[in-house]
Symmetry: C2
Subunit: 474 residues, 2 copies
């Protein structure tokens, strides 16, 4: 697709805003500056700025020029930390989760409740070329050689990315899996037995709850702040009191909160867990989708004892449907590899080879930059729409990455009712209770901004706001 | 690769032997007949017959011509039925299994202990074209739409194959999985809880034992005949005495025995299990690899209550490494689908699409015919080699399909010792004890004839025979 000059300029400015080169309140380059530096006509520049204004990224001030719009953080207040209550809970959420997931299969539904970003944001063509190319030169013996721990070249590429991010992970710790979900499930099996207790964030990713339910494990939910994650003071108390066999959490752009632990907090977390010899299952599938200047380090980088099993995948940032994830499983690597061999044997060879080829060719980082830019724009647009259409008293935190907005509605609005009414109007959302073993967060919803914005999404948010208002009045 | 005329003739005759058009003792066409019917020269015919003689398929009788060789069944006696003893067993075989599996990763090892046939027997080129073709036209929405129960077109193709085999399976019972191994594991999870007892054949596929071990289940091993499978009288007694929660077995070309239940026996099996409402996990991954005139029916075809979960895959007969299997799970289909969603989400989309495309294009049956023919020849050659080189008192049954030969050595020869000594000489075998919760079958080994025969395999069998003889003399 050829871009017009004004579209190209708008993209460039968007990229600078996404990368925080231009920050909220900054003045964007003037017509005269752009004419001199890039030879653009005044009308081209104005067309670009009208587009950016329509997208909600910049705002004009009379007789002064265009400025990067203030972020909505200041407009809507931040939700407080969760208070899940103490004690462990037997988990029983699967029915509710499946009810929500089933809705996403309906075609034409507005997928605000989806766990995936839009497939339109991925380099599917290039991936499919890598797939064809690598399979054409397939050595037949490869069909067996890619058994766990997985394709050697792919594992080297993954180790290399760790190295670039400043994390030292030996290649032989890396086990390739069918997406991160399998990695997480295998890790949990590797370190627990039925009846054991596992620490989780509150709220937490529903698949963690389902895994606990399936394996007969008890959940201990730890208070978690929507900005910077699990409360370490609360964690310290729980570690003394209970004897958890594992801790499962997302340190970066947590699902559903969007929270991210600062590096020093991660360091402290690892020290505390090491003191009690509690293994950490670190789900870091959104780590590459940061909107700030650099990737937040995984807590794995502070691990000196091999207690951290760092799980990630290509499903959320490169190749949905290829089902390739991995775990750098520290001292548990051989256990995880064996569990993998026993349950699903190996990840698909074509998928593994295609990704190894793609990563070797280069271009992954360019794709990621474009993806982050798109998510940044979409986040902004969704926040504005929610701010505009949702009832007074609504709160959310602006996540620094990922593609989920955790919205706290005014008390009294029931998220499950909202979910059911919205569904009748062709809109899916993820209601708060699916993220809690205790089925809390009754007035919270998770919205997905991983889809290119447009009228359809703007209208869906407006409709959601109307339903929420009508529920508030009951 | 162009075949010479004599090679083509040899292949044709081999095919007729494999398909039992020419049976043991039959005279093969004479030089004069072939000259008249196909215009072949005498020297072409003789060259073909020398080749077939060298392969051990035909034998010349002076002044009479060439005849299809008598099958070795008559030369080596058949082993008797297993006697696993009564009661349930906690399973602990994994270490031993992994020790054996690890050996197969060593390059250059003669893979007689492998569970896979040679990748050279598969249409990898055509599959890779289907892969490229289907991915080129990939609708981005597909990357999500192939979530469980799986790719719609692939599931239709699978249902169609059931129909052709005379088994009525509604498409919506079919859940696509990461190979049959995942299907089997999910089925077991769907119908059991830790501590439950599960019926198995004796000996049984080691992955079944590993699955029981992983899920904390008890194994009840049922006496099994190497020719026609599980002993139904023994089963009846066990069903009365214990309360098993599931039965896991392979009705066709059982691994490791090669046994196949007759249709009437399958019918009786299903009636007995239905009477006690015990679900059957039917592992039928070798069903397409029959050497007789037609595919043996799965016992699923006798199921009227939805109690049978019929598991199979493309890994052993078409596309190793693609990791696509399935289960037609009867009344448990929704449970299995949900377990799949919770543990590995979905099978790889490229693999699913490639196989859907391959099956739609046709040619699968032609490929299967060639594969069966190759396996038939290889079986014959291996049986002859074992008959020639192994010590007196060795027994085996000639399986009617699959690619495993279960060899019972004279008493006193320890299979684990044989395995370790052979490994030092670069030969892998699968020793009997890995197929038993009680670690029985100490004097049995499983040999894989799924690889194109040659000097290397002939020599390996000779070496194995020598080791076995030396162990017998100790």
């Amino acid at each position: 697709m050829d871009m017009k000059r004004y579209e190209q300029l708008a993209e460039d400015i968007t990229g600078m805003i996404a990368a925080r080169v231009l920050r909220p309140g900054d003045r964007v380059p003037s017509v005269r500056q752009l004419h001199q530096s890039r030879g653009l006509s005044a009308s081209t520049v104005f067309q670009a700025y009208y587009l950016l204004e329509a997208r909600g990224l910049i705002v004009s001030k009379p007789r002064s020029g265009y400025y990067v719009k203030a972020r909505l953080e200041r407009l809507l207040p931040e939700p407080e930390i969760s208070r899940p209550g103490s004690g462990s809970t037997q988990v029983d959420v699967s029915e509710l989760v499946f009810e929500v997931l089933d809705t996403l299969k309906t075609p034409d539904i507005v997928p605000l409740g989806s766990a995936f970003p839009s497939p339109l944001l991925f380099p599917l063509k290039k991936l499919s070329l890598c797939l064809s190319g690598s399979m054409r030169h397939l050595d037949p013996q490869h069909t067996v050689a890619d058994l766990p721990p997985g394709n050697a070249s792919l594992r080297r590429q993954i180790a290399l990315r760790y190295l670039i991010d400043g994390v030292h992970v030996p290649t032989d710790e890396i086990v390739v899996t069918n997406g991160a979900l399998e990695a997480l499930n295998l890790c949990l099996q590797a370190v627990t037995r039925p009846g054991d207790a596992v620490l989780l964030e509150s709220p937490t990713f529903y698949a963690a709850l389902q895994a606990l339910e399936r394996l007969g494990l008890q959940a201990i939910e730890v208070p978690t702040h929507p900005r910077d994650g699990m409360d370490l003071d609360a964690l310290a108390g729980i570690l003394e009191l209970h004897r958890p066999k594992a801790c499962w959490l997302m340190t970066n752009f947590q699902n559903p909160l969007g929270s991210t632990m600062r590096a020093d907090k991660k360091d402290a977390l690892i020290a505390m867990l090491a003191q009690h010899q509690v293994p950490l299952i670190e789900d870091d599938v959104y780590g590459e989708l940061y909107l700030g200047p650099q990737r937040p380090v995984p807590s794995k980088s502070f691990d000196r004892q091999g207690l951290v099993m760092h799980c990630s995948s290509f499903s959320k940032c490169l190749a949905p449907g290829y089902r390739v994830g991995w775990v750098a499983a520290g001292r548990y690597a051989r256990n995880v590899e064996r569990l993998k061999l026993m349950t699903t044997l190996s990840a698909a060879v074509p998928s593994q080879m295609a990704l190894a080829e793609y990563l070797a060719q280069g271009g992954y980082d360019r794709h990621l930059r474009q993806l982050r830019q798109a998510l940044s724009v979409q986040q902004n647009l969704m926040m504005q729409a929610v701010g505009k259409h949702f009832p007074p008293g609504t709160r959310f935190t602006q996540p620094e990455g990922g593609y989920f907005l955790w919205v706290v509605l005014p008390p009294g609005i029931d998220a499950l009712t909202l979910h059911r009414v919205a569904l009748h109007q062709g809109i899916s959302i993820a209601p708060g209770p699916i993220f809690s073993a205790k089925r809390e967060f009754n007035n919270c919803i998770r919205l997905n901004y991983g889809h290119p914005w447009g009228q359809r999404f703007e209208q869906a948010i407006e409709t959601l706001g109307q339903i929420a208002r009508s529920l508030a009045q009951r």
